[in-house]
Amino acid sequence: MTLRIAIAMFLATAAAWAHHSFAAEFDANKHVTLRGRVTSVEWINPHVWIHMDVKGPDGTVVNWMVEGGPPNALLRMGWTKNSLPEGLEIVVDGYQAKDGAERANGKDITFPDGKKLFVGSSGPGAPPEK
């Protein structure tokens, strides 16, 4: 399995891998498109966080953090710690935190080759617990 396929598989599945309610943290009406370079990835439970520098229209660079899926889920789908290397330019399509901070729940990541992949991690697609 190539890494690309592995990433595609994971990203396509991440939306519903939620530990928390999307609606309690993020605002579905605050859609954001973030273009920038990966500065670090926190491989932590219960969700991975991708940090990226995003340049605003006035040239100011702001570091955003984007929520991804659980590390276990990423690992099972073939991710490694090298899957999102520092410096990689990506575009994240997502939803901003309700408190207005530079924090988002990712929906899609677009990679430098134009490949668009799903990354949302707190989607409301989770069936209720029994």
């Binding site: 932590i44 276990n72 939803y95 949302g120």
Partner: protein, 358 residues
């Protein structure tokens, strides 16, 4: 993609076929109630589920206990409802099988996909098959006793407790404090049997045996239960824990685990933690399946005991991975900050005379 779908179909067909050859949970095979008096007897051994299962000889450990060890997953049952759906009124669980069961599972996947198709954050269709394997579900519902597949009525005491809880919550928002969030949100526990129930991810479990002990490790949220097989008494009633106090013993090929002494916060389905008793039975019914049933007995909560059951499937491709949930649980902090931001917005709107918005 076409060949992948075809392979998926073939695998599904083989799995469904195989599932029909092994045991299905059978109503009444577990502890039953008698004349309104709870009769959850750990001495009640499950009856053989089928002639096929009867012929199969389960393996034994080197010290002679039935061997139920392995890596397990129950991800196939994520879309299986706990109670019998209305469409099966009058039907028995064991009679819903074959193509009818397969069709139900296909519909469950389709329904799940369609339900979230237009949601901006929902997962695409193949996720529901690849990760959860909904279409490989082995039963139409989980409650096997009573035979109508329904959880018995709650007692007046249970309704009084629910009313008292609701009264205590009055005036509280959903996120005034971290204590308003669930034990799951807070990375504390999914309780019992919650830790073994199918979830959206983290459906891996490990059973390890040693002379005198059985240990169960649950990936989500990372509990480990150490079950002594010494028939010793439960701890004193004052000592209560999230996962309860388990004692196990073997009845033939069946491991029977009796768990009591629950904390109220984690007691299953709002039962009374002090009086709740869970009787689990684990019996290996095929090389890759352990039938797990749970009899839920709490005379303070339900008018009679009830039992649900499902097969735990051995799956070496799904070992338990670390899920140290509290490690970076930013979500909890973010939920609280989101609630504060919404309150501020509502207060500002109220000051301006506009209707407060949630």
């Amino acid at each position: 993609m076409k060949s992948r779908l075809f392979r998926s179909f073939l695998v599904t067909a083989v799995v469904i076929g195989a599932a029909l050859l092994v045991a299905l949970p059978v109503p009444g095979q577990n502890a039953a109630s008698t004349a309104g008096k709870p009769a959850v007897s750990p001495a009640t051994a499950p009856a053989p589920a089928s002639a096929t299962a009867k012929k199969w000889t389960p393996p034994r450990t080197s010290w002679g206990d039935p061997d139920i060890q392995g890596w397990f997953s129950n991800r196939t049952e994520d879309a299986t409802p706990l109670e019998r759906p209305a469409q099966f009124e009058g039907r028995r669980l064991e009679d819903v099988k074959g193509e009818e069961l397969a069709a139900i599972k296909r519909q469950a996947q389709e329904r799940t996909v369609n339900q979230f198709k237009n949601d901006p954050l929902s997962a695409p269709e193949h996720w529901w098959q690849d990760a959860l394997k909904i279409v490989d579900g082995q039963q139409a519902w989980l409650v096997v006793d009573p035979q109508d597949g329904k959880i018995p009525a709650t007692t007046p005491a249970a309704r009084e407790r629910a009313a008292a809880r609701a009264a205590a919550r009055r005036g509280h928002g959903p996120a005034d404090s971290w204590e308003d969030r669930s034990l799951y949100d807070r990375c504390i526990t999914r309780g019992l049997p919650g830790s073994m129930m199918p979830a959206i991810y983290g459906n891996s479990y490990q059973i390890v045996q040693a002379p005198g002990y059985v240990v169960i490790r649950y990936e989500m949220i990372h509990e480990t239960r150490v079950i002594p097989l010494d028939r010793s008494s439960h701890v004193a009633p004052e000592i209560r824990s999230y996962m309860g106090d388990p004692r196990g013993h073997w009845e033939g090929d069946t491991l029977v685990v009796d768990t009591t002494n629950f904390r109220d916060e984690s007691a299953y389905r709002n039962a009374n933690g002090a009086t709740l008793r869970l009787i689990e039975r684990f019996r290996r019914v095929a090389a890759d399946k352990v039938l797990w049933s749970v009899t839920v007995d709490d005379p303070e909560t339900w008018v009679k005991p009830w039992t649900f059951a499902m097969n735990l499937t051995i799956d070496d491709t799904q070992p338990v991975l670390e899920y140290s949930c509290h490690e970076g649980n930013y979500g909890l902090r973010n939920i609280l900050s989101a609630a504060r931001a919404e309150e501020k917005k509502a207060a500002e709107a109220a000051q301006k005379g506009a209707p407060a918005q949630k």
